[in-house]
Symmetry: C2
Subunit: 412 residues, 2 copies
Amino acid sequence: MAGDGRTFDRGSGTVTKLVRNQGVTAPSGFRATGISAGIKASGRPDLALVFNEGPDYAAAAVFTRNKVKAAPVLWTQQVMTTKRLRAVILNSGGANACTGPLGFQDTHATAEAVASALSDWGTETGAIEVGVCSTGLIGDRLPMDKVLGGVKDIVHEMAGGLTGGAEAAQAIMTTDTVPKQVALHHESSWTVGAMAKGAGMMAPSLATMLCVITTDAVADADALDRALRNAAARTFDRLDIDGSCSTNDTVLLLASGASEITPTQDELDAAVLAVCDDLCAQLQADAEGVTKRVAVTVTGAATEADAVVAARVIARDSLVKTAIFGSDPNWGRVLAAVGMAPVDMAADRISVSFNGTPVCIDGAGAPGARDVDLSGADISVVVDLAVGVGEGTVRTTDLSHAYVEENSAYSS
Amino acid sequence: MAGDGRTFDRGSGTVTKLVRNQGVTAPSGFRATGISAGIKASGRPDLALVFNEGPDYAAAAVFTRNKVKAAPVLWTQQVMTTKRLRAVILNSGGANACTGPLGFQDTHATAEAVASALSDWGTETGAIEVGVCSTGLIGDRLPMDKVLGGVKDIVHEMAGGLTGGAEAAQAIMTTDTVPKQVALHHESSWTVGAMAKGAGMMAPSLATMLCVITTDAVADADALDRALRNAAARTFDRLDIDGSCSTNDTVLLLASGASEITPTQDELDAAVLAVCDDLCAQLQADAEGVTKRVAVTVTGAATEADAVVAARVIARDSLVKTAIFGSDPNWGRVLAAVGMAPVDMAADRISVSFNGTPVCIDGAGAPGARDVDLSGADISVVVDLAVGVGEGTVRTTDLSHAYVEENSAYSS
């Protein structure tokens, strides 16, 4: 995979390594596993646990901005008021969203069961230390006999080492075709690991998207919060597959402190950003129905925020996305789309390029614009609004027959 | 057709008749025609003229809110500062958008040519009295030899009577499969007639959409402006097929005064609204790739404006639209979509019904919700936000394979 063994220089002279076959158990102090609890009718893995062995339990979180929030989001928001987490239980096979007060009771009961099982296992744990994440069809109650039975089993199967992290990443998949995990090994001997799921419903705030990030760095909750919000704003918030936004989006960052290394805030920010950025690339590449990976960059905006807003408007435009599916360099649709963005632009000086080739200069077609080859899988769209120096990129995909097929053929 | 011979009581006791096989030449004082000028490679009709014989020339207009405006929009906005129109020339086969200063010169030259031809024909006309509308592919210059040649011909072929209006409606079609026209005969002996085109790119402000409305009522420009803005806000502005918005949208309302009847403002408002509403139904039914006509109604919002905003968010959601294409009563996607609307709502008291059957009550699933039959072509989605009495409806369509096919297979 592209991320395997990737190294990069973050300007400070340190060299850090990003590895894709490792996830939440790459940092010291974390155990994880995934099992088949019978929540999914298919019998595939559907329950994952990430357990922080400490010595620290500081944590941070970002959640969906959707006003309709699933029960596990409401629960985990309460848990996060303590700024600490000892464990996260995640299930696929059902979102437990729009399930009313009984659905919330189910989430609460799940957290209690995890706490009880961990306590029995030897680590005194309270439900208020257990985050809960769910993903799957909205609107149905979870099969709680399966969930609670699974919780008892999973605590006993928690593995240390890399295998457990990979099993967890597998168990949170829904329409994902591949698990997504990545680890960043800092040369100063601390590590960040992560797993994510999400293939549809990716949108303005976050993708549908469950993501657990772990680190063995020593960092307090405020440092984690700053690193996570900084990273989410620049990565998950700029991934927009279909403009829809889940009721369940949750990104959690847990620190065990097991490395006994305290990175600077800048080092922590950079590491979490790199991990989230890589996960976004993996999510984009596995999006529902994707045939092309599209990066829409807006330059020349009044501000960076304006650039992101304009890029998002283009990235969400069905006519732009279908044209790209058809490898059609129909730049007029890009102009029509960006013209609806609620930001400043100089309409008669806008320029557009596809894959580096100018197709529109000063608001009018460039020679050869209709002949640009968009047959490849990676498409870059760059739009210059000609009013300032603000820049921003939103990742999206094309709108394909497969997207329509996947989302019309069955309830998901 | 559904609108044929439809009559309705507008509360004042008067009965008024809506007829779909008549258009812009139904009112007295208007001539129109459509011809093949060779702008379209297919040889199909591509040039239309609507001519107001007077005695009045008052007019009103609404235009796209897109910041990227086509040359004919920029031109006609200038014309409309005079609040009068003697003629409108419309072409399909090219949008003349994103064509720079030369494209604007082409539009100007077209208006000059129409004015000159009308003057030669015996009606002294200035270019500033001629509105210009274009529709088709964005980004290419028009073949001006064809356009200017066509202008000379079309003035001589202008017919009175219903035939000319039908020919004009035919000549403005692009991906439309049927022409759209309607006439309203008021029992007080005045008439409103209209034609429209537009099948894709229908969006927040307006559909792509060219629409010319004529009336033989006596009405000054301010009365026309009020009637047109009122109608557009309740009809075209609430038709959202794919969230995209054209660079060329133009709706023009011309009054000849030939009936010598002066309706009240309320009568005029109601008549123009009825005509625009019927055209919207026709546009929706012929939208690109449509297999279902969907009406999304939001009730219980804090205000009518909030209701429309929320309905539009649902109507634009790809996951809702693909579910409806698949006849899947996946109400959870409606909840997830509306939860992102920037309006007040009581998330735990939201209710949803499909085709009149409750599928979600107080934010949770209703018994039998997954069994609702959505196999028919007309789908009603009603969402109650439970915070007020504001109501609004947005018309949309499903997101089908045919939509993807039509918009990916060729530049349009």
